[in-house]
Structure formats: C-alpha cells, structure tokens
Symmetry: C2
Amino acid sequence: MLDRIERIRRRKPVIREERITLAHGAGGKATHTLIEAVFLEAFRNPLLAPLDDGALLRAGDQQLAFTTDSYVVSPLFFPGGDIGDLAVNGTVNDLAMCGARPVHLSAGFILEEGFAVADLRRITDSMAAAAEAAEVAIVTGDTKVVQRGKADGCYITTSGVGLVEQPVTLSAARARPGDAVIVSGPIGEHGAAIMLARDDFGIEAPIRSDTAPLHGIVRELLAALPSHVRALRDATRGGVATVLNEVARSSEVAVVLQEEQIPVRPEVTGVCELLGLDPLYVACEGRFVTVVDGEHAGQALDTLRSHPLGEGAAIVGTVAAAPAGLVLLRTAFGGTRVVDVLVGDPLPRIC
Amino acid sequence: MLDRIERIRRRKPVIREERITLAHGAGGKATHTLIEAVFLEAFRNPLLAPLDDGALLRAGDQQLAFTTDSYVVSPLFFPGGDIGDLAVNGTVNDLAMCGARPVHLSAGFILEEGFAVADLRRITDSMAAAAEAAEVAIVTGDTKVVQRGKADGCYITTSGVGLVEQPVTLSAARARPGDAVIVSGPIGEHGAAIMLARDDFGIEAPIRSDTAPLHGIVRELLAALPSHVRALRDATRGGVATVLNEVARSSEVAVVLQEEQIPVRPEVTGVCELLGLDPLYVACEGRFVTVVDGEHAGQALDTLRSHPLGEGAAIVGTVAAAPAGLVLLRTAFGGTRVVDVLVGDPLPRIC
C-alpha cells in the first residue's frame, strides 16, 4: 500500500492527452491536471495559485472575493431547479465558501440560434428569484448567439463579487490532525436528480436537486465559530470525495471517513447502486463540507442543524496525520479503502 | 421624415420572435430588444439599468467597476489576434470605458470534447501575454467540457474588476449640443479581419484585427480633460453606428457625422464594398468613440494622437439638439442619411 500512496502523492501535472475529453470538465483528476498544466502555467500569479473557490482581493480598505463559474448543465430544467438558479446559487456559494457576503453578480449568456424565448424567460425569472433569495443583484451581463449545433440551448457564466466583512482564514490547506469533517446535509442529490432527468435509464425516483444559496448558513457557522473553522468547500463537481482529496493534499494530512456516518437519502443510494456510482463522487449544489477544530465540532454541528439548509448535517470523519495526502473510508464492515480523486467523468454536464 | 423619426423613437421593447436568432447576438436592434424585454425585465435593479459597458459599485471607501463578456468568435485564430487576447482586451476595455483601472480578471472556459490541447495552450499563452500588456491578473477561473457538437472548440467568458481611482461621470446619456464626436482610429478592422479569416469569400487583403487594450490611452485622455469627457464607448459589435445611436437616444440629441472625416483604411473600405457592408457597422476591438465638450475637442484629439493606439484619431462629427435620438450622416456629396441601429446580423460571431 505504501508504494501506491507514494505514487499517488508524487503525481506531476502533465497532460498526456492531445485532445480535451469530458473528464477534463469533471472536476476530478483530469480537471486538476488541466488547470495545473495549462491554466496555472500560463496565468501564474499569487492570487490564482491557491485555487480556492474564488480569489481574495483588496480594494481600498475593503477585502473582496471574486469568483466565476460557467454552467452547461443538461437538461436545462430538472426537478428542484434549472440552469438559472443553479448559476446564481453556484456563484453565491463560491463567494460564501471564501467567507464573503455575496453582493453583485454578472451573467454572460451563450444562446443557440433557435432557442425558445419562452425558455430563456423561464431561466431569467428563475435567476431573478434566486438572486432575490440570496440577496444579490445581477448588475451587468452579456449575450452572444451561436449558430444551431454550436451550443446546447443555453450556457450561462456567472461571476460574483462579495465583501469579506469579517476577516477569516479559510483554506483547504489549513486542516490539522484532530479536526472534524462535517457535511451540511445528505449528499449526491443534485447529481442524482440530473441523471434521472436525462431519462436515459428509465429509472423514476422522487429526487430533487439540492441547489440552494449557502451564504446564510455559512454566515451563521462563521459567527458561531469565528476562529475554529479551517476550511469550507461546496461539494459540487466530483462530490465530497473530491473536496476531501483537495483538503488531504493541500494540508498534507489524512482524512478518515466513517461510511455509516455519511448522510445519503435512501433514494439516492438506490439510484447510485443501480448506476454503479459512489454517492461520495456525486455532485451536490446546496451542500458543503467544512473542516473545524475537533473540540468545537459539536458546536459547529448544532449551529448547522439549527438552519433549514443544515438539518441533515453530520460529522463524517476526522483528520489524522498519516497517511498524508489520502482520504480513507472505514466501511460499515470494518474495512478501509482509499477514496481517490475522481477519474474519468461518470456524469458529464452536471452543472 | 418626421413620421419616420417618431416611429423610430417610440419603439417599445417587445420581442416578436418566439426563438432566438443570430440577430439577437449582433449588438444591434434585436440585442437591445432582448436585453430590455427579457434581461432588464427580470433583473431590474438600479445598477443594471444604465446598460453601460459595466456596473459601478461601491466597496468600502473604493468605487469599483465590474463587467463581463462572453467570446464566441469564429475562427478562434485570426490575423492580429485570437479568442484569448480578444477576451482579455475586451474586458479590459469595458472597464476602461467606465473610467476604471482594470485590475483583476476571471476566465470561464467552455471547451468542446476533442478540442486540441495545443490550441488551448496557444489561447492561454495569448491571454497571459494580453493580461501582462494590460497590467491585469487573471485571478480565478472555471472549465467546463461539453460533448462534441455542443460547442465550437472553445468559448471564453471573462469578467473584470477595476478600480475607479479618479471620479469621472461618463455616460452615453451625457452628450449635449455642441459636443464633438471623436473616434480613436481607423474603424472596422477587427470585423473585416474576421470575415477574411473565415475564407468564405475568397478575398485576400492585408487586414489585421485591431484588438488592443485601451486603458492606457483612456487614462491619458481622462488625465488631460478630467471634466470635459462626456462618454466613452468601445465600438465593438454593431460598430461605431451602434455606439452613436446609443448616445443619440440616451442623451436625446442628434449626432451628425461627416462621412469624409471618418477614418477607414482603404483595404477595409474595399472589403466592405465587396461584401456590401457599411464600415460604420463593422466591429472594432481596439478603437473607441468619445464625446467631448466641443471647446476641448482639439485638445482631446492631440492627446489621443500622441498615444500609439490613437495615431489615427479623428473628429468625425458633432452633437446637435435635433432631430433628437437620431444619427445623421452628411455624405461626401452633400446628402444626408439616417444611420439607424443595426438590423439583422451581417457578421455573426465577430467576438
């Protein structure tokens, strides 16, 4: 096992493929390699380097967070949401994960010729409702149209500016042995809802996307534990497994999960079993992972559970010193396995 | 003629089409209708309402500008530039047009499965060089991949944050009778270069895109005339004609252009004649239009001409009280015609 661990830890960011594959957009190993080998290599600068959900900037006496995400989810409409509220909530959540109060959003639309104006209105209405719920304003935008067959209806890129009103130091690199790992609710619902909405599998189950704005619950967590929250990450592409691998690597620690403590709704477990997926890798759009000082884990959990978006929060694991860089899962049967970063893309265009 | 003028002035923003057409992305009349009838309607807020190149925000003691643009130019590589430097310069220029110093950029990539990694590197290298030239940092980003046939190689959405360091009041609504209208150099080169690069017409001509960062020349103009510049607009989609129609409508003035004073390189004139296009509607990516107090027009022109990106600047017209809302062109032969906003899209995917 040690050889394998060393091999995993020593991976260099080299792109072996000559062409982009769906895996490069999956948020897992290939995405990371692409980012490190191409984007970081070209754009290298101290603000980009941490590769957190957004960049922290200074403007006069004010610290800002700045973030962007493109949305290419398919289908555009799904149980629990659509590309519009997903695009607003996603950017709101990236700002929240930086400890910022989301304030201003931009929206860039790439529309395919022939897209129904009624569908566009449905999407913009959904964005407006999500913006109102998240207390942000969409203040600037852009629209481009491409010919039929050069897009898939509608793609949206939202960027956001948030204010860091209370200085916090959050980073995937701050986890320490003894810390607790908490998820804010049952995992995998967004990804499972999208899969079912595609209707490729003929499975029906009452699963809705968990898309939601997380700035409120994060604000309460940071207010309750201003100096004991180490890291916050929303568990989107690549799911909880991918977030925790980032924590393990950046902090050079081990994350040890207890399988039976991971909250997954039975419908999601059922769909994942049918499709051969592990819920740990399935995207959420309204759940986050936080690493907190172990002594304050109970207080963190109580705070989360007192918020409507955190009712199903659970402590799912702990941080250990070794094996550094790895995520381990203690199974219900007493075994242990490595939860590696996502390879390939089992669920393209989940967001 | 007055009936026609009244008809033009009274247009209401109603979308008659049930489906999106390429004209909705052309920057002309259909784009404006789409923005007003769908986006403004849904997102209505005081910062979005002015529909300038970016939104002006306050953060602590600092005024910020925030802007976004999606780039879908085809082909991705063309004489004088590529989608990468276009995306950086375009957002830098939108910030400059707000009177802001561009500082931070984000970049969201939508890649098509099968896109060559070597082309992506070429694009990111070009973005890095453009960012360095414009003294901005690309601090955050995102990558999505869609299946073959669901994009066209690579789309990029850049957003930007700039600092307004010297308070200025710039708006397309501030033009007054007696003001002068200046363009910063020969027009239509970007659009003409893209058309030729598509190679649909079998025309060859030595035309390169004018893509360039305009923050430096704008800074010099604003430093020389801190209180006499009314409006700044980069003349991208829809060209100079579209910008001036915005000025005429927003300010409720007439803009009167002198055809023989409009700088157009002979190669561009030639290509436009062959293709039946009017250079006034052809996109630039490194030229801007400014409206300045008529008494300071000479000083503004001297300032622009002393900068390498403004060597070909020219006073092209004046602002008059009537007919309010219209752009008129006095032709070389002594005639006058209305320069209406762009209808349809003669040049899809120019940026």
